[in-house]
Amino acid sequence: MSRRYDSRTTIFSPEGRLYQVEYAMEAIGNAGTAIGILSKDGVVLVGEKKVTSKLLQTSTSTEKMYKIDDHVACAVAGIMSDANILINTARVQAQRYTYAYQEPMPVEQLVQSLCDTKQGYTQFGGLRPFGVSFLFAGWDKNFGFQLYMSDPSGNYGGWKAAAIGANNQAAQSMLKQDYKDDISREDAVQLALKVLSKTMDSTSLTSDKLELAEVFLSASGKVKYQVCSADALSKLLVKFGVTQPAAETS
Protein backbone atom coordinates (compact mmCIF):
# COMPACT_ATOMS: atom_id res chain seq x y z
CA MET A 1 0.00 0.00 0.00
CA SER A 2 2.56 2.53 1.10
CA ARG A 3 4.94 1.51 -1.71
CA ARG A 4 3.30 3.99 -4.03
CA TYR A 5 4.40 6.85 -1.88
CA ASP A 6 7.79 5.51 -0.84
CA SER A 7 9.90 6.69 -3.70
CA ARG A 8 8.65 10.25 -3.79
CA THR A 9 10.13 12.57 -1.21
CA THR A 10 7.69 15.32 -1.88
CA ILE A 11 4.44 13.40 -1.67
CA PHE A 12 2.53 12.60 1.47
CA SER A 13 1.30 9.06 2.02
CA PRO A 14 -2.42 8.68 2.84
CA GLU A 15 -1.47 8.49 6.51
CA GLY A 16 0.20 11.86 6.15
CA ARG A 17 3.79 10.68 6.25
CA LEU A 18 6.85 11.38 4.14
CA TYR A 19 8.50 8.01 3.85
CA GLN A 20 11.78 9.14 2.31
CA VAL A 21 12.34 11.48 5.20
CA GLU A 22 11.61 8.72 7.66
CA TYR A 23 14.00 6.39 5.86
CA ALA A 24 16.67 9.03 6.00
CA MET A 25 16.23 9.20 9.76
CA GLU A 26 16.45 5.42 9.83
CA ALA A 27 19.78 5.60 7.99
CA ILE A 28 21.13 7.91 10.66
CA GLY A 29 20.19 5.36 13.31
CA ASN A 30 22.93 3.12 11.91
CA ALA A 31 25.63 5.76 12.07
CA GLY A 32 28.04 6.25 14.95
CA THR A 33 26.59 7.96 18.00
CA ALA A 34 27.28 11.60 18.80
CA ILE A 35 26.37 13.24 22.08
CA GLY A 36 26.26 16.91 22.95
CA ILE A 37 25.93 18.40 26.41
CA LEU A 38 25.44 22.03 27.30
CA SER A 39 27.21 23.12 30.47
CA LYS A 40 27.35 26.46 32.21
CA ASP A 41 30.84 27.24 30.91
CA GLY A 42 30.89 25.49 27.55
CA VAL A 43 29.47 22.88 25.23
CA VAL A 44 30.82 19.35 24.97
CA LEU A 45 30.57 17.10 21.92
CA VAL A 46 31.60 13.47 21.89
CA GLY A 47 31.36 11.11 18.96
CA GLU A 48 31.89 7.46 18.28
CA LYS A 49 34.28 6.65 15.46
CA LYS A 50 33.13 3.55 13.66
CA VAL A 51 36.15 1.43 12.80
CA THR A 52 35.04 -0.34 9.65
CA SER A 53 38.25 -2.14 8.82
CA LYS A 54 41.64 -2.67 10.37
CA LEU A 55 43.19 -1.72 7.06
CA LEU A 56 41.46 1.64 6.88
CA GLN A 57 43.72 4.51 7.70
CA THR A 58 41.81 6.42 10.35
CA SER A 59 42.16 10.10 9.86
CA THR A 60 44.48 11.76 12.32
CA SER A 61 42.14 14.63 12.98
CA THR A 62 38.44 14.44 13.64
CA GLU A 63 36.01 12.78 11.28
CA LYS A 64 32.74 13.58 13.01
CA MET A 65 33.47 17.03 14.40
CA TYR A 66 33.73 20.05 12.17
CA LYS A 67 34.50 23.65 12.94
CA ILE A 68 32.03 25.86 11.09
CA ASP A 69 33.29 29.23 12.28
CA ASP A 70 35.42 30.47 15.16
CA HIS A 71 32.42 30.24 17.48
CA VAL A 72 30.46 27.25 16.12
CA ALA A 73 31.27 23.58 15.66
CA CYS A 74 29.15 20.59 14.82
CA ALA A 75 29.06 16.84 15.24
CA VAL A 76 27.62 14.68 12.48
CA ALA A 77 25.70 11.44 12.32
CA GLY A 78 24.65 9.97 9.01
CA ILE A 79 25.92 9.86 5.46
CA MET A 80 29.23 11.71 5.48
CA SER A 81 29.14 12.63 1.81
CA ASP A 82 25.82 14.39 2.39
CA ALA A 83 27.19 16.00 5.51
CA ASN A 84 30.18 17.46 3.68
CA ILE A 85 27.85 19.36 1.36
CA LEU A 86 25.88 20.80 4.26
CA ILE A 87 28.99 21.67 6.26
CA ASN A 88 30.32 23.53 3.27
CA THR A 89 27.11 25.55 2.92
CA ALA A 90 27.14 26.26 6.64
CA ARG A 91 30.69 27.59 6.43
CA VAL A 92 29.78 29.71 3.43
CA GLN A 93 26.74 31.11 5.25
CA ALA A 94 28.82 31.96 8.31
CA GLN A 95 31.40 33.80 6.24
CA ARG A 96 28.73 35.61 4.21
CA TYR A 97 27.24 36.87 7.42
CA THR A 98 30.57 38.18 8.71
CA TYR A 99 31.17 39.77 5.31
CA ALA A 100 27.85 41.61 5.51
CA TYR A 101 27.90 42.61 9.17
CA GLN A 102 31.52 42.24 10.34
CA GLU A 103 30.20 40.24 13.27
CA PRO A 104 30.03 36.52 13.99
CA MET A 105 26.77 34.91 12.90
CA PRO A 106 24.34 34.16 15.74
CA VAL A 107 24.29 30.38 16.26
CA GLU A 108 20.58 29.89 15.79
CA GLN A 109 20.62 31.78 12.50
CA LEU A 110 23.33 29.49 11.23
CA VAL A 111 21.38 26.40 12.26
CA GLN A 112 18.24 27.82 10.72
CA SER A 113 19.88 28.58 7.39
CA LEU A 114 21.20 25.03 7.21
CA CYS A 115 17.82 23.56 8.13
CA ASP A 116 16.18 25.65 5.41
CA THR A 117 18.46 23.88 2.94
CA LYS A 118 17.55 20.50 4.41
CA GLN A 119 13.86 21.31 4.32
CA GLY A 120 14.06 22.23 0.65
CA TYR A 121 14.97 18.67 -0.23
CA THR A 122 11.80 17.34 1.41
CA GLN A 123 9.58 19.55 -0.67
CA PHE A 124 11.07 20.15 -4.10
CA GLY A 125 10.83 17.15 -6.37
CA GLY A 126 13.18 14.60 -7.76
CA LEU A 127 15.75 14.72 -5.01
CA ARG A 128 16.35 12.72 -1.89
CA PRO A 129 16.67 14.36 1.49
CA PHE A 130 20.03 14.74 3.24
CA GLY A 131 20.68 11.68 5.40
CA VAL A 132 22.32 13.68 8.14
CA SER A 133 21.62 14.79 11.68
CA PHE A 134 23.74 17.48 13.30
CA LEU A 135 24.59 18.61 16.77
CA PHE A 136 25.65 22.25 16.73
CA ALA A 137 27.64 23.68 19.59
CA GLY A 138 28.30 27.37 19.69
CA TRP A 139 28.46 30.61 21.54
CA ASP A 140 27.11 34.06 20.67
CA LYS A 141 26.86 37.32 22.53
CA ASN A 142 23.07 37.29 22.69
CA PHE A 143 22.36 33.87 24.11
CA GLY A 144 25.73 32.50 25.29
CA PHE A 145 26.42 28.80 24.91
CA GLN A 146 23.95 26.86 22.83
CA LEU A 147 23.37 23.33 21.64
CA TYR A 148 21.11 22.49 18.71
CA MET A 149 20.04 19.22 17.16
CA SER A 150 18.76 18.94 13.60
CA ASP A 151 17.34 16.03 11.56
CA PRO A 152 16.81 15.31 7.81
CA SER A 153 13.35 16.88 7.78
CA GLY A 154 14.88 20.26 8.56
CA ASN A 155 13.54 20.34 12.08
CA TYR A 156 15.82 21.73 14.74
CA GLY A 157 15.64 22.51 18.41
CA GLY A 158 17.77 23.84 21.24
CA TRP A 159 18.78 21.21 23.79
CA LYS A 160 20.58 20.95 27.12
CA ALA A 161 21.79 17.47 26.19
CA ALA A 162 21.13 15.54 23.01
CA ALA A 163 22.18 12.40 21.18
CA ILE A 164 22.08 11.43 17.51
CA GLY A 165 23.04 8.26 15.65
CA ALA A 166 22.97 4.65 16.84
CA ASN A 167 21.16 4.03 20.12
CA ASN A 168 20.23 7.67 20.36
CA GLN A 169 17.07 6.89 22.29
CA ALA A 170 18.92 4.95 24.95
CA ALA A 171 21.52 7.69 25.18
CA GLN A 172 18.86 10.38 25.30
CA SER A 173 17.04 8.70 28.20
CA MET A 174 20.30 8.29 30.13
CA LEU A 175 21.10 11.92 29.59
CA LYS A 176 17.63 12.85 30.76
CA GLN A 177 18.21 10.91 33.95
CA ASP A 178 21.70 12.19 34.75
CA TYR A 179 21.71 15.75 33.42
CA LYS A 180 21.73 18.46 36.03
CA ASP A 181 21.32 22.17 35.45
CA ASP A 182 24.51 24.21 36.04
CA ILE A 183 26.66 21.19 35.24
CA SER A 184 30.32 22.14 34.86
CA ARG A 185 32.18 21.46 31.64
CA GLU A 186 34.32 18.79 33.23
CA ASP A 187 31.27 17.00 34.61
CA ALA A 188 29.65 17.28 31.20
CA VAL A 189 32.64 15.54 29.63
CA GLN A 190 32.38 12.80 32.23
CA LEU A 191 28.65 12.38 31.67
CA ALA A 192 29.04 12.31 27.89
CA LEU A 193 31.78 9.67 28.05
CA LYS A 194 29.78 7.60 30.51
CA VAL A 195 26.66 7.66 28.35
CA LEU A 196 28.66 6.86 25.25
CA SER A 197 30.46 3.96 26.96
CA LYS A 198 27.13 2.42 27.86
CA THR A 199 25.43 2.88 24.51
CA MET A 200 28.31 1.88 22.26
CA ASP A 201 28.27 -1.61 20.83
CA SER A 202 32.01 -2.15 21.11
CA THR A 203 33.21 -3.86 24.22
CA SER A 204 36.02 -1.58 25.25
CA LEU A 205 36.13 2.16 25.12
CA THR A 206 39.46 3.42 23.83
CA SER A 207 40.58 6.79 22.61
CA ASP A 208 40.89 5.64 18.99
CA LYS A 209 37.17 4.95 18.85
CA LEU A 210 36.23 8.33 20.28
CA GLU A 211 36.29 11.98 19.52
CA LEU A 212 35.88 14.75 22.04
CA ALA A 213 35.55 18.43 21.24
CA GLU A 214 34.63 21.40 23.35
CA VAL A 215 33.48 24.95 22.74
CA PHE A 216 34.24 27.31 25.61
CA LEU A 217 35.49 30.77 26.46
CA SER A 218 39.25 31.06 26.93
CA ALA A 219 40.81 33.10 29.72
CA SER A 220 40.97 36.10 27.38
CA GLY A 221 37.21 35.87 26.79
CA LYS A 222 37.45 34.60 23.21
CA VAL A 223 35.47 31.61 22.02
CA LYS A 224 37.61 28.54 21.59
CA TYR A 225 36.97 25.26 19.82
CA GLN A 226 39.27 22.57 21.12
CA VAL A 227 39.59 18.96 20.06
CA CYS A 228 40.88 16.62 22.71
CA SER A 229 44.05 14.75 21.71
CA ALA A 230 44.15 10.96 21.82
CA ASP A 231 46.57 10.99 24.75
CA ALA A 232 44.48 13.40 26.77
CA LEU A 233 41.38 11.41 25.91
CA SER A 234 42.98 8.15 27.12
CA LYS A 235 43.83 9.84 30.40
CA LEU A 236 40.28 11.12 30.75
CA LEU A 237 38.87 7.65 30.13
CA VAL A 238 41.06 6.22 32.89
CA LYS A 239 40.28 9.11 35.21
CA PHE A 240 36.54 8.69 34.82
CA GLY A 241 36.86 4.91 34.97
CA VAL A 242 34.99 4.23 31.74
CA THR A 243 37.69 2.10 30.09
CA GLN A 244 36.68 -1.48 30.31
CA PRO A 245 39.31 -4.12 29.69
CA ALA A 246 38.23 -6.26 26.75
CA ALA A 247 38.58 -9.50 28.70
CA GLU A 248 36.19 -8.48 31.43
CA THR A 249 33.24 -7.75 29.22
CA SER A 250 33.40 -10.75 26.97
Binding site: Y99, Y101, E103, P106, Q109, K141
Partner: protein, 205 residues
Protein backbone atom coordinates in the same frame (compact mmCIF):
# COMPACT_ATOMS: atom_id res chain seq x y z
CA UNK B 1 23.52 74.12 1.50
CA UNK B 2 23.46 70.83 3.31
CA UNK B 3 24.63 70.46 6.88
CA UNK B 4 24.53 67.15 8.68
CA UNK B 5 26.61 66.61 11.77
CA UNK B 6 26.65 64.51 14.90
CA UNK B 7 28.56 63.68 18.03
CA UNK B 8 28.80 61.14 20.81
CA UNK B 9 28.27 62.25 24.40
CA UNK B 10 28.09 60.53 27.76
CA UNK B 11 25.51 57.78 27.30
CA UNK B 12 23.97 59.28 24.17
CA UNK B 13 24.69 60.25 20.58
CA UNK B 14 23.02 63.00 18.64
CA UNK B 15 22.59 63.90 15.02
CA UNK B 16 21.72 67.31 13.60
CA UNK B 17 20.58 68.06 10.06
CA UNK B 18 19.36 71.04 8.15
CA UNK B 19 15.82 70.72 6.85
CA UNK B 20 15.97 72.40 3.46
CA UNK B 21 14.93 70.70 0.26
CA UNK B 22 16.94 72.56 -2.32
CA UNK B 23 17.17 72.40 -6.06
CA UNK B 24 19.68 74.65 -7.79
CA UNK B 25 19.24 78.09 -6.23
CA UNK B 26 15.68 77.42 -5.16
CA UNK B 27 14.51 76.34 -1.73
CA UNK B 28 11.38 74.23 -2.15
CA UNK B 29 10.79 73.39 1.45
CA UNK B 30 12.43 74.13 4.80
CA UNK B 31 10.91 71.45 7.03
CA UNK B 32 12.25 68.32 5.36
CA UNK B 33 13.34 65.80 7.98
CA UNK B 34 16.68 64.29 6.91
CA UNK B 35 17.22 62.16 10.01
CA UNK B 36 15.52 58.80 9.88
CA UNK B 37 14.74 56.82 12.99
CA UNK B 38 16.17 53.52 11.72
CA UNK B 39 14.88 51.36 14.54
CA UNK B 40 14.19 51.80 18.24
CA UNK B 41 17.82 52.69 19.03
CA UNK B 42 19.32 53.97 15.78
CA UNK B 43 19.37 57.28 13.91
CA UNK B 44 20.32 57.71 10.28
CA UNK B 45 21.23 61.25 9.29
CA UNK B 46 21.67 61.52 5.54
CA UNK B 47 22.74 64.17 3.10
CA UNK B 48 22.81 63.97 -0.67
CA UNK B 49 20.54 64.00 -3.67
CA UNK B 50 16.97 64.02 -2.37
CA UNK B 51 15.70 61.00 -4.28
CA UNK B 52 18.72 58.85 -3.56
CA UNK B 53 18.59 59.82 0.08
CA UNK B 54 14.97 58.81 0.52
CA UNK B 55 15.36 55.61 -1.49
CA UNK B 56 18.53 54.42 0.16
CA UNK B 57 17.70 55.24 3.77
CA UNK B 58 14.31 53.60 3.40
CA UNK B 59 15.94 50.53 1.85
CA UNK B 60 18.30 50.25 4.81
CA UNK B 61 15.48 50.82 7.29
CA UNK B 62 13.35 48.07 5.77
CA UNK B 63 16.24 45.63 5.70
CA UNK B 64 17.08 46.31 9.33
CA UNK B 65 13.42 45.72 10.19
CA UNK B 66 13.38 42.50 8.16
CA UNK B 67 16.42 41.25 10.04
CA UNK B 68 14.67 41.91 13.31
CA UNK B 69 11.51 40.09 12.27
CA UNK B 70 13.44 37.10 10.94
CA UNK B 71 15.82 36.67 13.80
CA UNK B 72 14.07 38.12 16.81
CA UNK B 73 17.13 40.13 17.78
CA UNK B 74 18.04 43.63 16.62
CA UNK B 75 21.18 44.40 14.63
CA UNK B 76 23.89 46.10 16.61
CA UNK B 77 24.84 49.59 15.51
CA UNK B 78 28.17 48.26 14.21
CA UNK B 79 26.43 45.54 12.19
CA UNK B 80 23.94 48.02 10.73
CA UNK B 81 26.80 50.36 9.79
CA UNK B 82 28.73 47.58 8.08
CA UNK B 83 25.60 46.41 6.29
CA UNK B 84 24.92 49.96 5.08
CA UNK B 85 28.50 50.31 3.90
CA UNK B 86 28.27 46.99 2.07
CA UNK B 87 25.11 48.05 0.25
CA UNK B 88 26.72 51.34 -0.77
CA UNK B 89 29.84 49.52 -1.91
CA UNK B 90 27.95 47.08 -4.14
CA UNK B 91 25.87 49.90 -5.57
CA UNK B 92 28.98 52.02 -6.14
CA UNK B 93 30.14 49.98 -9.17
CA UNK B 94 26.64 49.62 -10.65
CA UNK B 95 24.30 52.52 -10.03
CA UNK B 96 25.71 54.48 -7.13
CA UNK B 97 23.62 56.35 -4.59
CA UNK B 98 24.75 59.91 -3.88
CA UNK B 99 24.24 59.78 -0.12
CA UNK B 100 26.44 60.47 2.87
CA UNK B 101 25.37 58.99 6.15
CA UNK B 102 25.90 59.54 9.84
CA UNK B 103 24.62 56.53 11.75
CA UNK B 104 24.16 56.94 15.49
CA UNK B 105 23.01 54.16 17.75
CA UNK B 106 22.89 52.86 21.26
CA UNK B 107 23.66 49.25 22.23
CA UNK B 108 23.13 47.89 25.72
CA UNK B 109 26.59 46.35 26.01
CA UNK B 110 28.57 48.92 24.03
CA UNK B 111 26.81 52.21 24.72
CA UNK B 112 26.40 55.03 22.21
CA UNK B 113 28.33 55.04 18.94
CA UNK B 114 28.52 57.10 15.77
CA UNK B 115 29.55 55.96 12.31
CA UNK B 116 30.54 58.00 9.27
CA UNK B 117 29.67 56.46 5.91
CA UNK B 118 30.18 58.45 2.72
CA UNK B 119 28.84 57.94 -0.80
CA UNK B 120 32.01 56.16 -1.92
CA UNK B 121 31.37 53.59 0.81
CA UNK B 122 34.03 54.35 3.36
CA UNK B 123 33.17 53.64 6.95
CA UNK B 124 34.64 55.16 10.08
CA UNK B 125 33.70 54.95 13.72
CA UNK B 126 33.91 58.48 15.01
CA UNK B 127 33.16 60.68 18.02
CA UNK B 128 32.12 63.67 15.96
CA UNK B 129 31.62 64.21 12.28
CA UNK B 130 29.90 66.24 9.60
CA UNK B 131 28.88 66.30 5.94
CA UNK B 132 28.07 69.07 3.49
CA UNK B 133 29.07 72.75 3.28
CA UNK B 134 28.13 73.18 6.92
CA UNK B 135 30.90 70.73 7.85
CA UNK B 136 33.55 73.46 7.38
CA UNK B 137 32.07 75.35 10.30
CA UNK B 138 30.59 72.59 12.43
CA UNK B 139 33.81 70.55 12.30
CA UNK B 140 35.81 73.61 13.31
CA UNK B 141 33.47 74.38 16.20
CA UNK B 142 33.50 70.75 17.34
CA UNK B 143 37.31 70.59 17.11
CA UNK B 144 37.46 73.59 19.40
CA UNK B 145 34.72 72.78 21.89
CA UNK B 146 34.11 69.02 21.82
CA UNK B 147 35.39 66.85 24.62
CA UNK B 148 34.55 63.25 25.44
CA UNK B 149 31.87 62.55 28.01
CA UNK B 150 29.76 65.63 27.26
CA UNK B 151 26.36 65.94 28.91
CA UNK B 152 23.23 66.48 26.81
CA UNK B 153 23.15 70.18 27.84
CA UNK B 154 26.81 70.70 26.86
CA UNK B 155 26.29 68.87 23.58
CA UNK B 156 23.17 70.81 22.64
CA UNK B 157 25.00 74.00 23.56
CA UNK B 158 27.78 72.98 21.15
CA UNK B 159 25.18 72.16 18.49
CA UNK B 160 23.75 75.66 18.88
CA UNK B 161 27.26 77.13 18.52
CA UNK B 162 27.68 75.15 15.29
CA UNK B 163 24.32 76.29 13.94
CA UNK B 164 25.13 79.87 14.88
CA UNK B 165 28.46 79.67 13.05
CA UNK B 166 26.83 78.17 9.95
CA UNK B 167 24.14 80.82 9.91
CA UNK B 168 26.63 83.65 10.28
CA UNK B 169 29.43 82.41 8.01
CA UNK B 170 27.85 80.31 5.25
CA UNK B 171 26.50 82.24 2.29
CA UNK B 172 23.94 79.59 1.50
CA UNK B 173 23.02 78.79 5.09
CA UNK B 174 19.83 76.78 5.59
CA UNK B 175 17.30 78.38 7.92
CA UNK B 176 16.09 75.40 9.92
CA UNK B 177 17.67 72.45 11.70
CA UNK B 178 16.42 69.36 13.47
CA UNK B 179 18.23 67.70 16.37
CA UNK B 180 17.66 64.03 17.19
CA UNK B 181 19.10 62.02 20.02
CA UNK B 182 19.59 58.35 20.85
CA UNK B 183 20.32 56.95 24.31
CA UNK B 184 19.34 53.96 26.44
CA UNK B 185 15.69 55.01 26.23
CA UNK B 186 15.66 54.98 22.45
CA UNK B 187 15.93 57.23 19.42
CA UNK B 188 13.78 60.35 19.28
CA UNK B 189 13.45 63.92 18.05
CA UNK B 190 15.01 66.32 20.52
CA UNK B 191 14.36 69.80 19.16
CA UNK B 192 14.09 72.05 16.11
CA UNK B 193 16.07 75.23 15.56
CA UNK B 194 13.97 77.32 13.19
CA UNK B 195 14.65 80.83 11.95
CA UNK B 196 11.74 80.82 9.53
CA UNK B 197 8.53 78.92 9.88
CA UNK B 198 7.56 76.81 6.92
CA UNK B 199 3.80 76.60 6.76
CA UNK B 200 3.47 75.49 3.17
CA UNK B 201 4.11 71.77 3.20
CA UNK B 202 3.31 69.11 5.73
CA UNK B 203 6.43 68.14 7.65
CA UNK B 204 7.78 64.73 6.82
CA UNK B 205 8.42 62.46 9.72
Amino acid sequence: MECVFGLVGDGFALVVADSSAVHSILVHKSNEDKIMVLDSHKLLGASGEGGDRAQFTEYIQKNVALYQFRNGIPLTTAAAANFTRGELATALRKNPYAVNILLAGYDKDIGPSLYYIDYIASLHKIEKGAFGYGSYFSLAMMDRHYHSGMTVEEAVDLVDKCIMEIRSRLVVAPPNFVIKIVDKDGAREYAWRESIKDTTGAPTS
